[in-house]
Subunit: 141 residues, 4 copies
């Protein structure tokens, strides 16, 4: 589904100097129909109680899904816009890294839908997210 | 609804050294039933296209709602946990600040629900969020 | 915002013989920027415990928002499609009617967003919903 | 995970005379960690354009998840309450039946989370839902 020669390193270059690098988000794997990225659990991604901030989880989820849609659209004719995201926070993370795995569950003409699961280093579920990306046609010249 | 002498400065002290200060989130106003905070739109809160990252919006929204619940619970007997958040991204922000206004729309015994509206400096709606906070009883000693 | 001469009776005629009438949903008021409809709480809209089924609440909410978008689009050139809906169930209803009030909170070129509040006869909040409607251009002839 | 001798017929008896039977919802299968139910696509479950109403989809989803939680809690000590539901409507159904498959993706002490996929007879995805159920302790006597 994704371009043949695309590597995680390429995605990490695109995200240089944005929220992604500011939070330490790093793409680690591009699979058949999924993308993985990890994020450190540290003061800068935590809330005052010392556990991963839910907003950091959602940032990781939205980064994975919107990057995933961006790399599969026809960029000459289309653009991809994050429209809606929702997340259930079901576990906590205190240290190390969390890993998000985003799977494209619907690839329509006008919308993409991604499921993103975020897990801690013990592989316990931290957050369960769904992102709706709208695919807009660029006005033809 | 909120403690009488509580000021935004107090909330900003609590969030020192967390995701909130890392993103530049600053509480600015505590009203009768709402809380406001602002966040800068800059490279560190943006996505590769140069506009505010949806995850940063959600981070602002969840920070406002979960802080709001934290300050109204009986901390000796209860704790507050962010359970679910959802956001519609309807506008974009390129520069300056966005401001989030969180309003407690349901204050139940076991859940709080916050509506959070995020607007740019032209007062245009950027994101519309809803956060569910679960109120857990601490085990009595 | 809505067509001048439009009445709730007109909306009730459109919904004859659909889920809306099957659940007893009846439009009651068209305001400046909102639409109201009511639904009976009875066995046919309840779950086994005898209280209003959350799915009935969502049916009421989606009926209000999608009808509202339908009546304001340019039907020759556009169509309206319900894309995403979410609901927090915060109260219960046992008898009588619940009333849903849908307010259009974002009217964009490609999406409409509706907030729908559902309240019981004691005016207590039962469900809080948000519906995203996608506005599609019909292919020009 | 589910009680050993439990059959779909048993679930259908519990839902007699409620929204479930009013919409024609029928439980069809209880698997290792999932439950399936089907619902007819007919005038009474459709919107004015003649396709399945999104509210009917959500009713099916919430019926599956809340029934699923109800049968696994300790009913003497706990009760299960639908707290939040969200749905992406990605396809349409015009006739025949749709089938919902609900999978318990998180079984916590205080919350259950269900993913529910609804598909039409061509096995195409119609709606993708997530339900949060809150598990409340009954006051001990």
């Amino acid at each position: 589904m994704f371009p043949e020669n695309l590597t995680p390193a390429h995605l990490n270059i695109i995200s240089q100097g944005t929220l992604l690098t500011h939070l330490g988000i790093e793409f680690t794997e591009i699979g058949e129909n999924y993308i993985k990225a990890k994020m450190p659990v540290k003061d800068e991604t935590s809330q005052p109680m010392g556990i991963l901030h839910g907003g950091a989880s959602v940032s990781l989820a939205e980064s994975i899904g919107s990057t995933g849609s961006y790399i599969i659209i026809d960029k000459k004719k289309e653009s991809a816009v994050g429209l809606e995201i929702n997340a259930n926070h079901v576990g906590s993370a205190h240290e190390g890294y969390v890993t998000g795995k985003g799977t494209l569950v619907h690839k329509g003409r006008t919308t993409h839908i991604w499921n993103i699961e975020i897990r801690n280093e013990q592989d316990k579920l931290v957050s369960l997210c769904r992102l709706t990306v709208m695919i807009l046609k660029r006005p033809s010249l």
